[in-house]
């Protein structure tokens, strides 16, 4: 068995082995192996290409951009997605504008350990995908499976544009697969994680698993719920979503991020604009509450969408 975290490590080991342009840069990623041990063992094998950085998120991303201009394929590890706000300027103003302005691509990957875990609190729990997706010039990936953690990270490095890679911390050790994949869907394509006919739940990251649990529970009521795993939130695979809504007539979008704007709002907006006639009921979204992510496990569990909250939301959607 291989975990989500081990799949990420395996992907980086393969990238370092296959391509001398690849290097890893971030806080504590060297001999220590990273705060979550995702780069464990890599520095021993590639001491010149797995480098500890000072606590300087702006400079870390800036370094990656300069190296990318010079032909390298840097992978940056943010210790937590939350800290990427300290590197925001380089990501959204330098990396995201470089190709449009100069015709020189900026192939950097910024890994963002994302999402909540019990007890992590306001500054170690955030989901940043919507913030980055709003800026033109960036690709934003949100792998939900062990297989995608591996294959999408390899694809992210191959992409000539900046990729924000939102890997979910809650999945690191819990999610397991039999083996690493040999093939995968391309970036920008969503996956039907579960087929159904009564309603469509669109989700990504850790929320895919909550949605699948909810769908399983609803089987007892006789409902067959389709679950879409977006995989990439920018670009967004509107076609796969619309095709599913055409089958089910009902849409719920579930996101661990905050409600204002964001991926869930974007999905609902697109379905309303492009597939209004497909809908049998008003499309719904389920997000985290509009507060900072709370520390206490009991508050945290109520702050984010859970399987039971998704079941409740889906039931009311089915009855609408």
């Amino acid at each position: 068995m291989i975990t989500y975290k081990e799949a990420l490590t395996a992907a980086m080991a393969k990238l370092l082995a296959d391509d001398p342009r690849v290097f890893i840069y971030g806080q504590d990623v060297g001999s220590f192996g990273g705060a979550f041990k995702v780069t464990e063992g890599l520095a021993a094998a590639y001491p010149d290409r797995v480098l500890d950085a000072p606590i300087s998120e702006d400079a870390i991303v800036g370094v990656a951009i300069g190296a990318a201009i010079e032909g390298m394929r840097p992978i940056v590890e943010m210790q937590f997605a939350d800290f990427s706000t300290c590197g925001l300027n380089q990501i959204v103003n330098q990396a995201a504008t470089l190709f449009y302005r100069t015709e020189v691509p900026c192939p950097i990957v910024v890994r963002l350990p994302s999402g909540g875990t019990a007890g992590a609190g306001p500054f170690h729990s955030q989901s940043m995908e919507a913030l980055y997706a709003t800026y033109p010039g960036l690709i934003v990936m949100t792998p939900a499976t062990v297989e995608d953690a591996y294959s999408m990270l390899i694809e992210a490095v191959a992409i000539d544009d900046p990729v924000l890679f939102c890997e979910h911390k809650l999945l690191y050790n819990h999610l397991k697969a039999e083996k690493l994949p040999t093939e995968s869907l391309p970036a920008g394509k969503a996956r039907v994680a579960r087929h159904g006919r009564d309603a469509t739940i669109v989700s990504y990251g850790a929320m895919v698993h909550e949605s699948l649990l909810a769908a399983k529970e609803l089987v007892e009521d006789g409902y067959e719920i389709e679950v879409i795993d977006l995989r990439t939130v920018k670009p967004l695979d509107t076609d796969t979503i619309l095709a599913s809504v055409a089958r089910t007539g009902r849409l719920l979008c579930v996101s661990e991020a905050w409600p204002w704007g964001g991926v869930a709002a974007e999905v609902v907006a697109r379905v309303c604009a492009e597939g209004f006639a497909l809908l049998d009921a008003p499309p719904q979204r389920l997000n985290a509450k509009d507060t900072p992510v709370p520390y206490h496990p009991d508050l945290w569990s109520a702050h984010r969408p859970t399987a039971s909250a998704i079941v409740t939301a889906t039931r009311s959607l089915l009855q609408a």
């Binding site: 400079a59 300069g66 990318a68």
Partner: protein, 338 residues
């Protein structure tokens, strides 16, 4: 710490070559100001008047294959590094044929593939980018490369400045950071910008070599900047240069700079480096007044002719624009238009 020294200064040939770059940059910027006043340039015009000696010295000592990330007042340094009157005018006038194709303007131009980086407006942001470029060169086994970038006194207050210079020092990179201490950040004087006794003190704090130079003296600038670039090239690690001078214009052409202290204008720091250089050339009898006048005419003719030509060039057509911000077009997001 080095100081300006005439004995180890530039040769006549070097000095005159640098002087003519300064002269061309000054002439071009005067044209930009006049085009701006005539309403022919959309967007800001930020001039480097008074900073040409320091700026030229940076581009002058860099080689092909080096990296240069200039800032807003580096028209002279850009030209010393290989930028042209033609591409400058094309960018300011929004020609479709310029390196930025109307997608970005004025001082935000560059050709990163040629080591000439295109600045963003956020001050200090180019420092870690140059550091990363130098790390890439080192990982590829290239030696003898230098990366230089410029900033002003105000830019030293940014977080990006701190993080970038610190990273360069930790990695012992051949990065040369040239600080034009031009006394004002837009309207803010140095007394409201930093509290250390001397900007040069910052070098010790980061563990990098520090140099000071009279930014109004071309010979001193060529010597000190040349020495720092040589030291970086030979493995001496990051070099910080403080060039003391005065911005001889407002922040941009919309700003008359009325807040600037008259005492500074009258002080040695307020000298015009181009005039100082011209007087020096005449004193040394390295050229005659007639020869300098001929160079000035030649520069003016090149600038005027190029401006005429560029004004006839096509501007970008919104209907032909691809409106795609990424290079992998297969990954472009699709938004249905109403």
């Amino acid at each position: 710490m080095s100081s300006a020294s005439r004995s180890s200064g530039p040769t006549r040939t070097e000095y005159l070559k640098a002087f003519r770059v300064m002269l061309l940059a000054r002439t071009l910027e005067e044209k930009l100001a006049s085009l701006y006043r005539a309403g022919l340039i959309t967007g800001g015009v930020f001039l480097g008047r008074g900073q040409e000696a320091l700026s030229t010295s940076v581009g002058f000592h860099l080689h092909k294959g080096d990296i240069f990330a200039p800032l807003i007042r580096d028209q002279a340094g850009r030209m010393a590094f290989g930028d042209t009157v033609l591409d400058t005018l094309r960018t300011y006038l929004g020609s479709q044929l310029g390196s930025m194709r109307g997608r970005d303007g004025n001082i935000h131009r560059g050709r990163p593939r040629e080591g000439y980086y295109a600045m963003i407006s956020h001050l200090g942001a180019m420092i870690p980018v140059v550091a990363g470029a130098l790390m890439a060169r080192r990982m590829r086994g290239e030696t003898g490369v230098v990366g230089a970038t410029c900033i002003g006194d105000g830019g030293t207050s940014t977080g990006a400045f701190h993080e970038g210079l610190n990273v360069a020092a930790v990695e012992k990179l051949p990065l040369v950071l040239v600080i034009a201490n031009n006394q004002y950040a837009y309207s803010t004087p140095n007394t409201r910008q930093f509290a250390c006794a001397d900007l040069l003190d910052k070098a010790a704090g980061y563990g990098v070599a520090g140099h000071r130079v009279d930014g109004t003296d071309l010979g001193a600038c060529l010597s000190v900047v040349g020495g720092a670039i040589k030291a970086a090239r030979e493995g001496g690690g990051p070099q910080m240069i403080i060039g003391d001078l005065l911005r001889l214009v407002g922040h941009a052409e919309h700003d008359p700079g009325k807040y600037m202290d008259e005492k500074l204008k009258a002080a040695p720091v307020g000298r015009d480096c181009l005039q100082v250089a011209e007087e020096f050339i005449l004193e040394e009898t390295w050229a005659t007044a007639d020869e300098i006048a001929a160079w000035r005419t030649e520069a003016k003719e090149e600038v005027d002719e190029t401006a005429m030509k560029v004004r006839r060039e096509p501007t970008p057509d919104p209907n032909e624009e691809e409106w795609c911000a990424i290079s992998e077009t297969r990954l472009q997001d699709n938004f249905a238009d109403a």
